[in-house]
Structures are given as C-alpha cells and as structure tokens.
C-alpha cells in the first residue's frame, strides 16, 4: 500500500494518502497518480454513472460494488446520489440491497433527492414477503430525513401490528431511530413500545426492551404487566436481548422489591445458641420477618441457567444481577462462571477482572477458592497482570498470605518492570492489612532495596516509607539503611521519600540526619524539584530539633532555595524561613513551628484503587471507566416498603392479548423453555420430526362444580383444569379441586374414599386434609388418567362424618396438551392423517369472529391447543396431542369468502376428534 509510509498523524497528508490508495484500483493505469488524481476521479465517476444508467444488471451491480468499496474506505461518493437512487426499485435483490446501503449512508446529506425513494419503500412495506417488508422498514427508518417523520411514524405503527414477528422486531428497532431523529414523537412512540412489550414472541422481546431503555427508561410502570412474561421468556430470547433485558430487570427489581439483604445480616449475627423464644421476641420487636416476593424469586431463578451461556456478556449480566438483587447468601454461584470467562480473550478478561476486583473487596469469600486462577503468567499483557495482582491482594488473608507472598516473590523478579513495581505496592498493602506478616514484608522489601533495578528500588522505598508511617515502631535500622541508598538511587520520588523519612524520624537517627543534610546541601542545585522540597523540609525539621549542628546548613539551603528557578521552591523557602528563623518581625506562629512541622501525621491508607467503584452498577461502561458515562442510569436504593405487588398480576380480560403471560401466572414457575424441555417420548410415539409439548397458550378460569354446599352439608367443592402437565404421571390430566367450608365448624379429615372408575382409568388422589377451618378454603391437585375418553370418574369424597358421591367429567378440550410445531411439520403430519382420520364441517362464522385474535382466543378457550404459526391470513392452525396416548390432534380453521369457514380436525382418535368438532362449531358461529 502506497500510503503505509505516511503516518496517521500527518493530517495534512491524509487526502494525499487516500487518493494514493484510490489510484490503485481505478481505471487510469497510464496516468501517473501524482498528476492525474483529480481528472481520473471525475472520469471514474462518469464511468460509474454510465454503468448505473445502463440497462444491464451486471453493469449496475458492478458499479454498486465499486461504490460500496469506496464507501468502506471512507471515501465520499455523494455526488453519485442521483444515479444511484434511480436503482432503488431494481428487481435484482443484490443491487437493491447495495442501493439501500448507499441510501442509509448519504440520505441525510441529500434530503431532497432521498425523497424520491420513499414511495418505493412504502410500496415494499405492503409486500407479501416478510423479509422485504422488514428491510423496507429498516431502510425507511434509517434515512434521517426530518420531513418523513410522519410517514415513519405511520409505518412503525403498522409494522408493530404485523403478523410476522420479524417485522415487529424491526419495528422495535425503528422506534429508537425515529426517537433520535425527532424526540418530540416520544409520547406516540411510548404507545407503540407499550404495545410491543405485550408481544409474546421471543424475537421481539429483546429489541423492544432496548427501545424502552433508550426512549423511556423511567416509565417502569410499563414493565409491571409484562414482568412475569419477560422473566419466563428470558431463556429463549436471543443472547443480545438477554443482556439488555437482564440489565433492565436489575433496575426494575431495585425499585419494586424490598431489600433481601438486611435480614440476611441479622440472620448471620443471630446467636446460634439463642433459644427459639428469644428469636421470636426479636422478630416481634423488629419488623415482620422478611419474605421474598415470589416475583423477585422468579427473576433470580430464571436467570440462573443463563450463567451457562457461551456469551460472556450474558454471564456478566447475570452476575451483576445477582450482585445487586439476590440475597447475599446466593451470590456464590456466580463466581465459578466468572472465573470461567477468564479463559476467554484478552478484552473479555480485562473487563471481567475489573468487575471481580470490585466484588472481591466487599466479598472476599466469593473468590477465595479460585485464588490460583488469578496467578499471573509471564505471557499475560501488563494490564491483565496488574488486575490479577489487584485481586490477589484483595483476597489475601492470614491463611493464604504465605503462599501469596511466595508467589509475589516471583513477580517481583519479573522482566516487566511496571508489573514488578505494582507487585511491590501489593506487598505493601498486604503488609498493612495483615499485621502478622508486616515484619516479614518489611524485611522482604528492605532486601529489595539492594536490587539492581532502579524502578524496583524506588517503588520499595516509597512503599517502605508508607509502611513505616503506619508502623511507628522502632525502625531506626531500616532508616539508616535507606540513608545509605541516597548515594546511589536517582529516582526523584524515592529520594524524596527517603529524605522525608529521615526528617520525620530525625530523632531516631540523630547522627545520620545532619550528615545527610550536608550531602544534600552540596547537591541541592542539581536535584529534582520534588527532592528540593523535601531537602527544605528536612532542613527545617532538623533546625527545629538539632539547631546546634544544622543551623548554618539550613540557612545555606534556604539561601539556595531563595533564588531557585521554580516558584514553588522559592515560595516554600520564604515560608519556612519566616516560620523557623527567629527575627524581630516573626509573628506568633513561629512559636508553634515545632508543632507545625513535627506534628503526628496520619498514616496514609493503602487501599485498593477499586474501592470507590462499587457505586457504579457492575458490568457497565461507567464501572470500567470509573466515571459516569453519558446515559448511565443510576441504580436506585431498595425501597423501604415494597410498592404494590399486585400491579404485576395479569387479569383475565387482558389474556386475549397477552396469552403468554397468562399461562405463566398459573403454571408452576421454573418452566424452562419449551424448546429445551423436549419430550423425547413424545417424539417416539408420534414419529414426527419435532414435537415438543409447550406451555398452554391460555388457561380458562372456568370451574366446574363437584359438590354443592347444600348437598355437601356445608362442604363445597369445585374443580378446574389448570392445563399443566401432570406431576403424578405423564398420561394423567391434572385437576385442581378447591374445597370450601361454608359451615361454622371445622370439617375434619377430608379424603377420597371408594372410587368407581371405568377399566384402565387411573387416578392419583390428593393427600387427606386434616381439617378445614370454618370459612376456609383449600386447593389441592390430583391427576386422573381419562384414557383419552370423556367418561366420568366417579368417586366418593369423604369427611370424618359424611361421604358424598361426586363425578368428574372432563371436557374434551382438556384431554389435550398443546405442542409446538412449525407450519411445515403441521402440513406434513396432516398429510398422514387423512381419510378415516379426518373430520370436517362447515360453519357460518359470526362477523365479529373473523379476526385472528378472536379466533385464536375462542378456540384455545375451548380446547388446550397450541397455536401453529401460519403464513396465511385466512387459515388458522392448532396442534395438540392427547394426554394418554400422545396422538396428534390437528385443528384447521379455514375462513372462506362470505362468512363461512371450514373446520377440519385430523387425528387418529376419531371419537375425540368428532366431539371436539361438535364443541368448536357453536363457538365459532356464535358471537
């Protein structure tokens, strides 16, 4: 490359170098670059223009490729705009894409011309192909032309309601773009965000939360209703979305839940031998005992598997969530995963080590077991080495200090002197923190004073100085040793430190101190400013304590200082002279000179540079830089009293739109993503490619009466189907029975007695209830294997005194479990189940029932079916398998012209199929 010789710093040369680069690929081989630069440039553009306007796609494509190549090099190609924009409607998809690339880059500069392309995008937004719709929206929203804001707004709104989740995802991205173009649209955009937050697609979740964070991070109220859904979707969201959601959730949790920490500490302090009563008293006295909000728990539990992610950013996000939100006793699990990240690239290591450094200050125990993982290798870059050292120092304690010091000994000898110096500081910190080893460390450091490397010696001197100050014991020997060093050592900081030490403890080395001053007086003029100041200090201190020997020396030095070049030194000289040398003008202060100079000075604290980083949220840019980055959102403190937790409840009316969240509210937590919990048995039975049982789309609240309170002598019982996989057996349907005592006496020993079941049917009864208080009610669950039939299960419900015969009859829709299936699989399976296995009927659909949402809602209300994504607007597909035998049940609703629809059910279980058909028919025809 011709420009290699030109350094980046020569700004003036940049154009030349760039043009030089250009000259290589251009089509002017004969023209020497130095002269033909500009002419070849315009010529080439003419060339490109012609190619763009030719009617051959290959020429156009070639031209576009060359233009994009130029853009990549940072070259301005805006003058070709008119020729390029003409090709926006090209049929060739690659040309089109490259034109898009060009448009996004230059539309801002050529706003008027860019408007020519808008109608193309508007048309593309209606394209049947979702990829084209999505990319049209992408480009349209990336053109930063203020005039089209209303068009963008409209398109975003439309796209947010698109059937394709991919288009909706792009709509979420477009929100941020529009917001940065025109912040005044905020209110309207928040409405769209609110709508998209309700989306149940994992594809959309990450993107919309990102927009939320950018547009309205303070509108935490929008999250409430979606909180549980987001928690449950989290595992299935793509990894980048996970990071964003977890960070948002951390903030959310800190505002909505009470602190799980305080109680924890109390718990630790609690005396082990304290009797229970005493504890009770304590609890009564204090606030009521802490109970974690189940939603808080949900977040912590659902993020845990993500620690196993391959993406370092996700692992770090979970780690910071645990650090800021989880009870202190549970943070332990993150350390293993963080240590694992240390195997990764240099950059990842750097960030992770920084965060570990902050964590290890507050919670040593967290990383102590992994001490050896932080041992330094000679091949590590210096910044990694120093961070590891920092962590090792934080982790040092009485038990491991001897091993650590041995390790440090190796580091001190390192060829990387910067690192060796850092090690010496680390030793100093260990020495102050752990009193047992102070002397050992000090001796070790003194040995280093005879090291040949100046940087090492200098650093040791500085650290020894600090150590001696914190340990004002008798260390005369060391000071003498250091005084000798003055002859050899040249590093100013070290010389200054030695002088300061001698001055400060001059009474401990009365013989040496004046001699040192004498030597210094001789070399005063050639010293560094830093050293000069300390010579002045030393002189002043000696003058005060030992004026007989040093009076003239000090005055000599003061005279030298008076005419020094540095005003700092002249200043100091004047100040000292006034203070210590008595003369007629000297004020009252000189009486206190000794007190001023030889006052007890507080020892410097040797602490970690990461000490003050903990006020930034871990894992953030601000934490890494240790300054507030633009747009950093403060993590609020825990509220004293928890805000109303019921805001997160999702009520039934909303279920229609919020199908996913509803199911989560009732199903047991810790649902792992359906795709992950593949049911292999199901696979074998149905011999299909991918059939996973999914969580139910919708759970109706409808209850059935089991026992009326009149006939039950005050005991009432209802049952309903929670549509959960039964925990008692794979082939069972789970049934929840709610028992209520309407009498004013206790009902005791409620259990199931004799049962009359058709052959093959099995039942897992609930465990007996000892007693039910008056007005009390209790919900128990049981499992019944109905053998894929609607036969009733008759049983006896017994109490201590009575027994009642009751019947449970399942609606046919409850004998199913929804499955996840792609449209392709659905069609394939459906193809296998024709002829005998197909039942169908025509229905007249009530007009209000013709939209997708209503149909889906109506159908899943009746039967526990899974919704199959469909590419066609007028065909709705549902899939499930029967609970007992696992046979597929495929339901298709085909809307025809007029108001008729065709309802088709394909299944091997034709009986159930036809019953289901009969039940579905009225549902669709009625309003």
């Amino acid at each position: 490359m011709s420009s290699n010789s030109l350094g980046y710093s020569e700004q003036g040369g940049e154009t030349v170098s760039e043009l030089g680069q250009e000259a290589v690929p251009t089509t002017a081989p004969s023209a020497s670059p130095a002269f033909g630069l500009f002419s070849s440039d315009t010529k080439r553009n003419e060339d490109l223009k012609q190619m763009l306007e030719s009617n051959k796609d290959s020429a156009k494509l070639d031209a576009m490729k060359r233009i994009v190549g130029m853009i990549a090099k940072g070259k301005n190609e805006s003058e070709l705009f008119p020729s390029v924009v003409k090709n926006v409607a090209s049929k060739n998809i690659e040309i089109k894409k490259l034109v898009y690339v060009y448009l996004m880059r230059y539309a801002e500069e050529q706003q008027d011309l860019a408007l020519l392309s808008i109608s193309t995008f508007q048309r593309a937004l209606k394209d049947p192909n979702q990829l084209i719709r999505a990319s049209a929206l992408r480009v349209l929203s990336s053109i930063r032309v203020p005039i089209i804001v209303p068009i963008m707004m409209l398109s975003i709104k439309e796209a947010a309601a698109d059937l394709s989740p991919y288009v909706r995802k792009n709509a979420a991205h477009a929100i941020q773009k529009l917001y940065s173009l025109d912040p005044e649209q905020k209110e309207m955009l928040i409405e769209v965000i609110e709508k998209l937050l309700k989306d149940k697609s994992t594809l959309v979740a990450g993107s919309v939360v990102m927009s939320f964070e950018e547009v309205c991070p303070d509108r935490i109220d929008l999250i409430h209703k979606n909180y549980r859904k987001l928690c449950n979707l989290l595992v299935d969201v793509e990894e980048w979305g996970q990071v964003v959601i977890i960070h948002m959730m951390t903030r959310y949790a800190r505002t909505q839940f009470v602190s799980p920490w305080k109680e924890d500490e109390e718990y630790n302090e609690k005396n082990f031998y304290e009797s229970d009563e005493e504890q009770k008293e304590k609890n009564l006295k204090g606030k009521k005992p802490y109970a974690m909000d189940p939603d808080h728990r949900l977040l912590i539990r659902n993020t845990k598997p993500l620690l196993q992610s391959r993406n370092a950013a996700v692992v770090m996000a979970v780690a910071q969530l645990y650090w800021h939100v989880a009870p202190k006793s549970e943070i332990g699990i993150v350390s293993k995963s963080l240590v694992r990240l240390l195997r990764s690239n240099r950059e990842v290591q750097y960030i992770v080590l920084q965060n570990i450094a902050t964590m290890s200050i507050q919670r040593k125990g967290l990383f102590e077991p992994y001490l050896k993982s932080f041992y330094v290798r000679s091949t590590d870059p210096t910044m990694i080495k120093t961070l590891k050292l920092e962590i090792l120092t934080n982790l040092a304690n009485e038990a491991n200090i001897s091993t650590l010091l041995r390790e440090f000994q190796t580091y001190v000898k390192s060829q990387d002197k910067q690192f060796a110096a850092a090690t010496i500081q680390a030793i100093g910190r260990c020495a102050t923190n752990i009193s047992e080893v102070t002397d050992t460390c000090l001796n070790g450091l003194v040995c280093l004073l005879s090291n040949r490397d100046e940087i090492v010696v200098a650093e040791s001197v500085v650290v020894i100085k600090k150590l001696l100050q914190t340990q004002p014991a008798h260390h005369g020997e060391i000071i003498k040793h250091m005084a000798k060093l003055l002859d050899n050592i040249t590093v100013p900081v070290a010389r200054a430190s030695i002088l300061w030490l001698i001055g400060e403890y001059c009474e401990r080395v009365p013989k040496i101190a004046p001699d040192v001053l004498r030597k210094m007086a001789k070399s005063f003029t050639s010293e560094d400013d830093l050293v000069k100041l300390q010579i002045l200090n030393l002189g002043a201190k000696l003058y005060l304590t030992n004026s007989k020997q040093t009076k003239f020396l000090t005055q000599y030095i003061l005279n030298l200082g008076k005419y020094d070049q540095s005003y700092d030194i002249r200043d100091r000289t004047r100040f000292i002279r006034q203070l210590i040398v008595p003369n007629e003008k000297s004020g009252a202060l000189s009486k206190y000179a000794k007190k001023i100079f030889l006052a007890q000075k507080p020892a410097p604290l040797l602490e970690s540079p990461f000490k003050d980083r903990d006020h930034f949220q871990l894992g953030t840019l601000s934490h890494t830089l240790n300054t507030r980055a633009t747009g950093y959102l403060e993590l609020s403190n825990w509220p004293e009293v928890a805000p109303d937790p019921s805001v997160r409840n999702v009520d039934a009316i909303e279920l229609v739109f919020n199908l996913e969240a509803a199911s989560i509210a009732v199903t047991t937590p810790a649902i792992l993503s359906p795709s992950l919990v593949a049911d292999l048995e199901g696979l074998n039975l149905s011999s299909s490619s991918v059939i996973d049982v999914s969580i139910p789309v919708f759970v109706p609240m409808k209850t059935h009466e089991l026992l009326h309170r009149m006939s039950g002598k005050g005991l009432a019982a209802h049952y309903h189907f929670p549509r959960q996989p039964c925990i008692y057996g794979d082939q069972m349907v789970s049934v929840q029975v709610t028992l209520t005592n309407t009498t004013d006496e206790k009902i005791e020993n409620i259990h199931i007695g004799e049962r009359k079941l058709p052959s093959d049917m099995r039942m897992h009864e609930f465990s007996p209830i000892e007693s039910l208080e008056p007005e009390g009610s209790i919900t128990v669950s049981m499992g019944i294997d109905f053998c894929d039939s609607t036969q009733t299960a008759s049983l006896k419900l017994c109490t201590k005194d009575n027994h009642f015969s009751v019947n449970i009859q399942p609606p046919v829709g409850e004998l199913l479990l929804p499955v996840i299936m792609s449209e392709r699989d659905f069609k394939k399976e459906k193809g296998k189940l024709t002829g005998m296995n197909e039942t169908s009927a025509s229905v007249t659909v009530a007009p209000q029932n013709s939209t997708r949402l209503v149909i889906v809602q109506k159908v899943v209300n009746v039967a526990n079916l899974g919704v199959v994504p469909s590419g066609e607007d007028n065909i709705h597909r549902f899939a499930a398998k029967t609970v007992h035998s696992g046979s597929l049940m495929l339901v298709t609703v085909e809307l025809k012209e007029g108001s008729t629809a065709r309802l088709i059910i394909n299944t091997e279980k034709t009986v159930i199929g036809s019953i289901l058909l009969r039940e579905l028919k009225p549902v669709l025809s009625q309003g």
Binding site: S141, H173, N345, I351, L621, G631, N684
Partner: protein
C-alpha cells in the same frame, strides 16, 4: 448502541469503516492511535478508551484492531463479545480473517455487517442464518454469478430466524450423513523451579462438525459426567435435560460449532504429561551464560507427546545464543529475544535436549530472573481428565448417520518457571 466500526491494520491505517447511525468522522480514531502509542505493544492497548464525545471499544485479533465507536452507556462486554463474533463470522466466511482478504471481499463484508446490526443493535449473529442471507463467496459461485448474473443475496427470510431452533437452517440435505465430535482438553499449568505444580487445571471443549439431513435430535451421554465442574453450552443444548440427567440433548446447527466448553473440577489431581529439566544460569562476572533444557514425557498413559514446541522470552541483556539441539529446529531472534525450539515428537528412549551458551551484554548486570519456558504439546487419542463419551444417539430422522469421536489433549497456558 454501536455507532460505527473502524478496522485498523498494524501500520495504523484505517482500511474499512462502517456506520450504523449518522457518520462519525474517522478522526475519532486519533484518540485510539494515541493510546496505542502509549501502550507500546498491541496487546497492551486498553480495550476501552474514553474520548470527549465517544467511547472506543476495541478488540485485537489477527493483527487487526476492530474499533467500535459508541456514544452512551452500554455493557462493555456486550460490545466486545459482539466484535469477537464479527471476527468469528469473517473467519467462517473467508477461511482467514486478514486485511487482504477483507479488502478483497469488501462488498460481502459490508453486506454481512449490514445484516449483523440494525441501528447498532445485533440483528442476526448466527452464522447459519447469515449464510442463508448472504452466501459466502466460493470460486465456483463467483464464476456462476458472473455468467448467469445471479447474486449472493438470498431473498427469503431464513426460516431459522423465526423457528424455535434459530441456529439451524431448514432443508438441510446430505448424501453422507456424518457427525464428528472432537473432545479437546487443554492443560493450564504453572510449574515452579523445582518441578512441583503451582497450579494446574483442565479446560475442555467439545467441537462438533455435524452434517446431517433434516432435523436430527441428538443425545450425547458421558461415562463420567461428574467430572465436569462448570460448563457452558451452545444455545441448542437443552439445559433442563442436562440438569436432571447429565445428558446433552440438542438439535445441532448445521456445520461446525462448539457444543460445550467445560472445566474439570479442581478436586481431581491433574496429571502433568511432561517435564522439563532445565539449567539456566547467568554469572555476574562473565558475559557468558549457560543454557540447557531437556524435555521428557511423564504420566502420558502410554501415548506419545507430539507437536512439542518450547518458547522462551529471554531477558533483554541476552545478545545471542549459540545452541545445539539433539532434535528439531531452534531459532533465537536477537531483536525480540524470543527463543523457540520446535521439538516435534518425543521419543522416550532418546530425550531431546537443547544445550549451549548465551552471550550477554558486556558490563551489564546479570538479569534478576531466569526466563520462563512456555510449552506446547499435543497428545492424540487421550482426554487427560479421563472424560469418556458413552454414546451418541439420534432421534427424529430415519437414516443411520456415521458417528465419530476423537480425543485430544493439548497444552493450554503451560509455563515452567526456572
């Protein structure tokens, strides 16, 4: 999030730039160059550099700096991890990721980057999906494209993007159905002067190359899953199944991917398969130092050590070395002071050794520290932790795939202090 991306080569030229929001002038990189100058070595350049209006986050790979420009608070690992993913994608597309290759394929690079981010937020980062959107260039395809005028750009949304298995493309077809798994373990160790182990750990990965038709559902089980202490999975692995049964159950992506990385629990003592006898000494008075090392096998479970490579960074005071080796080639670079000795296979009957003298700068003091020795080696057909795959089963498809499992142990960061 990510505003712009600049690619900078080792001589400090910006050879590619891409913007996802409004254009950020390339002069922002001056701050980066400043930091680079201060750091002297490429790997000491801080990954995060603040500038008055932007923040520069960079990764350094294949002698190229990938510098991302961001404007507001964002988790730094998010950006760094993404940049690494970009590099991985390029490597996947072009085989190598070098300045020349990226410049040659600048249009594909641009198209890929365009798909990977939208408004600075990652859109498609799975290589299976990207490859459906933009086909990687091959010689054949280039020829066909020039003749027929067809393109590299797909016009349908990849099905994976919408399905529950976003990492796998649909409609995969092979005539030979094969699935290969490589269990590769790396030993990280620090051995001290006297030959005792200061720290040693085993990190392993299972890399897979799966070429199976349709939608296969695989399960892989181990003889001794308890060995695995800490694991991280490819998103395809069903976590629940692992938690409850310690079985890896997954629908694999098509092609090469890393299924699992793991760490072997620390309770197990790590067998160190190699030892180094060394005698390196500098004397204060003379300008000559002695250098002698011998490498030999230890606890290799009867397998041979291969690909043994010894490198050592000599102290600055060493001017030159005159050495003779009994096996292999050795090179000393007097500029970088790096000694490397390519030993190759070790024959236990005749241990390889490297002997000779070092000439030191006259008058200089002897170095404080002896150089550390870095060791590389490979042992085929052995997983040093003892991990064994029990069986691999396939569900969901009818054909019989060819299955293969290979074990290998390698040195990771293996250092001997002398």
């Amino acid at each position: 999030m990510i505003h712009s991306l600049f690619l900078i080569n080792s001589s400090g030229d910006i050879f590619l730039e891409k913007h996802w929001k409004s254009v950020v002038s390339r002069s922002v990189c001056d701050y980066f160059f400043e930091a680079q100058e201060r750091a002297t070595e490429a790997e000491n350049v801080p990954p995060v550099i603040p500038t008055p209006h932007h923040y520069l986050l960079s990764v350094y790979r294949h002698k190229i700096f990938f510098v991302a420009v961001i404007q507001t608070e964002v988790p730094p690992l998010f950006v760094i991890e993404f940049l690494h993913r970009v590099v991985d994608t390029f490597q996947d597309y072009f085989g190598v990721c070098s300045e020349v290759v990226l410049k040659d394929n600048v249009v594909v690079v641009y198209e890929v980057l365009e798909e990977m981010l939208d408004n600075g937020f990652p859109l498609a980062t799975e290589s299976n999906i990207l490859k459906e959107l933009i086909k990687p260039p091959t010689i054949l395809r280039t020829v066909v494209n020039t003749i027929t005028g067809s393109t590299n750009v797909g016009d349908q949304l990849p099905t994976g993007q919408l399905s529950v298995v976003p990492w796998r493309r649909t409609g995969v077809k092979y005539t030979n159905n094969e699935a290969y798994f490589d269990v590769i373990e790396e030993i990280d160790a620090i051995i001290d002067k006297s030959g005792s182990t200061i720290t040693a750990e085993i990190q392993g990965v299972i890399d897979a190359c799966v070429k199976l038709t349709g939608m296969p559902d695989l399960t892989l089980s181990f003889m001794n899953p308890r060995l695995l202490d800490d694991v991280s999975f490819h998103p395809c692995v069903r976590f629940k199944r692992w938690e409850s049964e310690r079985i890896l159950s997954f629908i694999p992506p098509d092609g090469n991917f890393r299924l699992l990385s793991y760490h072997v629990s620390a309770q197990n003592l790590v067998a160190i398969p190699v030892y180094v006898k060394h005698n390196i000494s500098f004397r204060d008075s003379s300008s000559l130092g002695r250098f002698e090392i011998t490498v030999g096998p230890k606890q290799t479970m009867g397998k041979t050590l291969e690909g043994v490579m010894v490198t050592s960074q000599m102290p600055k005071g060493v001017l030159n070395m005159s050495l003779t080796s009994s096996h292999g080639m050795h090179v000393f670079d007097p500029v970088t002071k790096l000694l490397s000795w390519d030993v190759g296979k070790i024959n236990p009957q005749k241990l390889p050794s490297l002997k000779g003298t070092m000439s030191l700068q006259a008058g200089a003091f002897k170095p404080d520290e002896n150089p550390t020795i870095n060791l590389q080696f490979k042992i085929q057909q052995l997983a040093i932790s003892g991990l064994k795959v029990n069986r691999l089963d396939m569900y969901g498809e009818k054909y019989k795939p060819f299955k293969g499992i290979k074990y290998m142990t390698k040195a990771g960061k293996f250092q001997v202090r002398t």
